[in-house]
Symmetry: C2
Subunit: 629 residues, 2 copies
């Protein structure tokens, strides 16, 4: 890794920095002693120098063109923030205990998206550790940390990060992140990082002083695009692709969720994403454990998850926003104002069977024909969710789904995700229906920038037609008000939802049809505009999942040919109710073939049927399922 060559050795330290357009570069060590060192440049534009010293840690700046002090773009630590000196990190010093860790196959993951600053009152990596046991008990086996690269100040979603190799100082820095990853692995939890390769934060961004990181050829929502394909772009491509491997090697990270991949424009013969996925595939073999790349993509293009041989980017999976939109507007009809291309039950059906709902037709929001079909692409190439930081945080009132639909529908929503032929993701606190808002917050030091963020945010909502706005992003209270209320997780309805999620994940792990990602075995039957039947199959097993998303009772007639099997889940069962329901209103435990039943409002019920060879009666549960129970 060319970008990652600054490191300690016995009695010395080697420094390397890329600045192809500069004639001179001076290393300026500022702690624990002061000294300047002229660096030497190689053909590829990397400057380096070796300093004989055994003092550690070394803090330093670079002087591009021998002019002014700037932090190292590839700094591994910014102990004093984005404007302060960089610090060389000794990655060999950490004592890992996860030697036996081999990672987790992607299709087995249940994601938990987590913002380090607001997951605990302390807002540190260390404070997450005591909560891992309970997450694991719920069935969660992957946490996905919102970006942790050094951002300005101490409060940020993370998408303003600038020093991509540097772990946020206020979260605890490099060692504390390693402690967290090591602890996760000891509990069987994989760790994903959300990384941002499409722009750099607006504050502390001195990259332009070093090299041609940016290009005028393309514009992004954040200004000039990163230079992924122009002159001297190799150094830029190395900076970002090395970064992916860096986390995997030095922090034992299991996978990356890559932010907004559609905002990188790369007109090269080998697209950056194809290059990156190729490098990660090679490292997967080298490191001997599962490594995954997940894309956030706004393209609705099947190329994202196709392999490079088929002209794809080679991502293991991508977030399936269409699933969220299709489901959310059915749970909260006011959502149709924002997601006005959605609103029909058949769109949710298409989300289950095909993936992309918008796959080529005219889309009002985009004012153009948009997307291509993902039919036939296996379900484990998509990640689905009821909400993530984006949907919650970009609502004017920062509301989670728990405040947008009723308790009964929250159970239905969770089941809709967990019974889907996709890899599920929960947003921290969702598992117990946390009701804290998740606001947008920043902590910039430049007053002009603060004003720009405040006003930009208002304008964004004004453009959407709002006349009131979220609270001031720069205000400390906005950040504090977003810290989730973990302590309530066992109380009342929160406790029910927590157990409900655990139950859903148990079923997901135990029932063979739910582990089958082949889309050939997924069917949806609409019950008008109010509900639907999701059918999941695997060999001789089938699951019939009856969903009613509305306040109207629905009727359903089980097929005449085969027995419906045994009920394995019922959201109206008293175990999952705040107030008990008359049991005679529940769906039968073991309905007859051809029987017509009434599906209660806001409910989900699941039947499991196993057909023995030559036997068409509802068989016993499979061994797997028995284990799950």
């Amino acid at each position: 890794m060319k970008t990652v060559r600054t490191r300690y050795g016995p009695g010395h330290c080697v420094f390397t920095v890329w600045a192809p357009g500069k004639d001179r570069m001076i290393l300026h060590i500022v702690s624990p002693f002061d000294g300047e060192y002229e660096m030497e440049k190689d053909d590829e534009g990397y400057f380096s120098v070796r300093v004989e010293t055994d003092k550690r840690p070394l803090r330093y700046y670079y002087k591009p063109g021998a002019e002014r002090d700037y932090p190292d773009p590839a700094s591994h630590y910014q102990p004093e923030g984005v404007h302060g000196p960089s610090e060389v990190v000794d990655h060999d010093a950490f004592r890992w205990t996860d030697q036996a860790w081999k990672g987790i196959p992607f299709e087995e993951l249940v994601f938990y998206e987590l913002h380090t600053g607001t997951f605990t009152p302390e807002g540190t990596f260390g404070a997450i550790i005591p909560r891992l046991g309970e997450l694991a008990e719920t069935g969660i086996n992957a946490i996905e940390l919102m970006p942790v690269s050094q951002f300005p100040g101490s409060r940020n979603w993370g998408y303003d990060g600038v020093y991509l190799y540097s772990v946020q100082n206020s979260y605890g820095g490099p060692d504390e992140l390693k402690r967290l990853v090591d602890a996760c692995h000891s509990k069987g939890i994989a760790v994903f990082l959300d990384v941002v390769y499409n722009h750099l934060g607006p504050e502390g961004n001195y990259f332009g002083r070093f090299g041609p990181y940016f290009t005028h050829h393309y514009r992004t929502p954040w200004g000039d695009a990163l230079n992924y394909d122009g002159a001297w772009s190799d150094g830029v491509r190395d900076y970002f692709s090395d970064n992916a491997l860096f986390w995997m090697e030095h922090y034992h990270i299991d996978g990356l969720r890559i932010d907004a991949i559609h905002t990188i424009i790369d007109n090269s013969a080998v697209h950056f994403w194809a290059m990156l996925s190729g490098r990660v595939a090679a490292w997967e073999k080298k490191l001997g454990r599962h490594l995954h790349l997940v894309a956030e993509s706004d393209l609705n293009s099947p190329h994202v998850v196709k392999t490079p041989v088929f002209g794809g980017y080679g991502f293991r999976a991508q977030w399936l926003d269409d699933f969220h939109h299709a489901l959310y507007v059915l749970l909260d009809p006011s959502g149709r104002e924002r997601y006005y291309d959605f609103g029909a039950m058949k769109q949710l059906a298409k989300a289950y069977t095909d993936g992309f709902v918008l796959s080529g037709d005219f889309v009002k929001f985009r004012r153009k024909k948009y997307g291509a079909s993902s039919a036939g692409i296996p379900g484990d190439r998509f990640v689905v969710f009821n909400q993530n930081h984006d949907q919650v945080g970009n609502r004017v009132d920062g509301k989670r789904l728990s405040l947008l639909t009723g308790f009964e529908n929250l159970k239905v929503a969770a089941a809709a995700v967990m019974l889907a032929p996709y890899v599920p993701l929960l947003f921290m606190g969702e598992e117990y229906g946390d009701e804290t808002p998740f606001w947008y917050f920043v902590d910039h030091s430049d007053p002009q920038l603060v004003r720009a963020v405040q006003e930009g945010r208002k304008k964004e909502f004004a453009n959407l037609g709002f006349t009131h706005y979220p609270p001031d992003p720069q205000d400390m209270k906005t950040f504090r008000g977003s810290i989730i209320q973990w302590d309530k997780r066992h109380e009342g309805r929160h406790g029910i939802l927590l157990r409900w999620h655990r139950e859903l994940i148990r079923l997901r792990r135990g029932l063979a049809p739910l582990k089958n990602y082949s889309k050939q075995d997924v069917e949806v039957e609409l019950l008008g505009e109010d509900g639907f039947v999701l059918l999941r199959k695997w060999r001789n097993e089938r699951l019939i999942c009856l969903f009613n998303l509305t306040c109207r009772e629905l009727t359903y007639t089980f097929p005449r040919e085969t027995k419906p099997g045994l009920k394995v889940l019922d959201s109206k069962d008293n175990r999952w109710m705040q107030e008990p329901l008359y049991e005679d209103r529940l769906l039968p435990e073991s309905p007859q073939a051809g029987e017509t039943v009434a599906i209660l409002p806001f409910s989900v019920t699941v039947y499991h049927h196993r057909q023995e060879k030559g036997d068409t009666s509802g068989g016993p549960l499979s061994t797997d399922v028995a284990d799950a129970w």
Copy 2:
């Protein structure tokens, strides 16, 4: 085709124009009568109106927003140039005689690139017709017209065209182009058009008054990019993809050479090129004749010619500039100043065996790693040439290869192209070694624009280190000086070169190994830095082509295993010499296996060998070859 709906009907004429952001649109007929008509808008942003009249031809303007007169962006004819009124063309009126024409399979083509304005003193389509017989006799079966869409003034390469559906008035307009195509088909010649879908010319470009044809998201060498993927881009995509089909339907065009496809940025799920190639494939079936799309691409990406199933753009072929560069710098060593990443004989070998020479390594000219391998892609997916309008016209002195290398090497160069496993292209006049320069010329009416072009051109050459410049592009003499000297084609060395080309094309059509585009059957053996042996195979036949590109004699030993066969071509044969050579210096007609021979300087010699079953001796020529002779 949505864009092509303006047409005459019995006793009426329907007008349609796309302007999604406008509230009003007025049709203003200016000839043969004057009248204004309010148009009606549909959901997709197309305005239309039906005018009851049987007067023809109708000339008109549109008034977007009911404000000012502008020509129709989708005009089929601009009889008075880019600023004048548009004219409705009655495409049904032309009497085609090519009903039996089925086109030509791509792999059989020999291209002839032709600039209508400078191919004849008249500079019209009509003037080309009398020359077709001789082109066909030479073996040329496809002319490729440099762009003919209406450009400003009467002199232009064509890349400043604005009204893409409109045929240049000074070339003879729509009917004369149809006459030319019909005449070509009657002579067995296919017609390709060079079309420009990456920008619109700077003069007479009123497209912005109608709709969002441009986007700020990407920049091109010509300014803001065309809007292929933003809001309302469907109308833009239709405008350009309909245009491709329009030529094929109304002008019986056989294929398009699409200019600089790499300068279109399209971040959609379905890339514009994949959409276009899909539409053309459908029309190929509909029209029942061969239709081809050829790309000019600066990407060195195999995706360009791969099918959309494999994530490709679906072009039938692309120009292989690397072949030109690799060959040209060996013929004219001063070319290394411009093509400084080229210069090694092994690069030419790679051009023959792989295609792209630059396929992933660092390229000085690009200042980055560039390209990807095209090894294994069949040869008929590439078009090769010794020169085209670009290389000649962008030399400071406008020189053709005929003035840059000697007569003997011109024969070698022609053979290097014609014996290559690729589809060949000649630049008008090349077949007889025309020595007229091909300058860059324009005929703008805006003095500011004229100055900008004049100065931009100088700056371009100054940046390349030149201290003298090509003549003034706006000067009529520059244009006149570029008209080729067709009358000299039979004189002296010109006549020899003409017959040499005819001979090469005959061999190409007759020898089975030369019709085999599989790269598995192509080998190159280097003879140091001075020459090479090109081996072409097909089943039991093989061709040994000995190339010496320098003034040094080379030695070559024929393989011991098989007989070398019979000589089928020798550039030193007196038929092809200006002055006779002692015959004893020629390579033997039928060399022995293992025999060592001396290859004369600046020469090409071809042996053909046919191995009978169980017989290793040089067999007789195949039937095909006999036919060719």
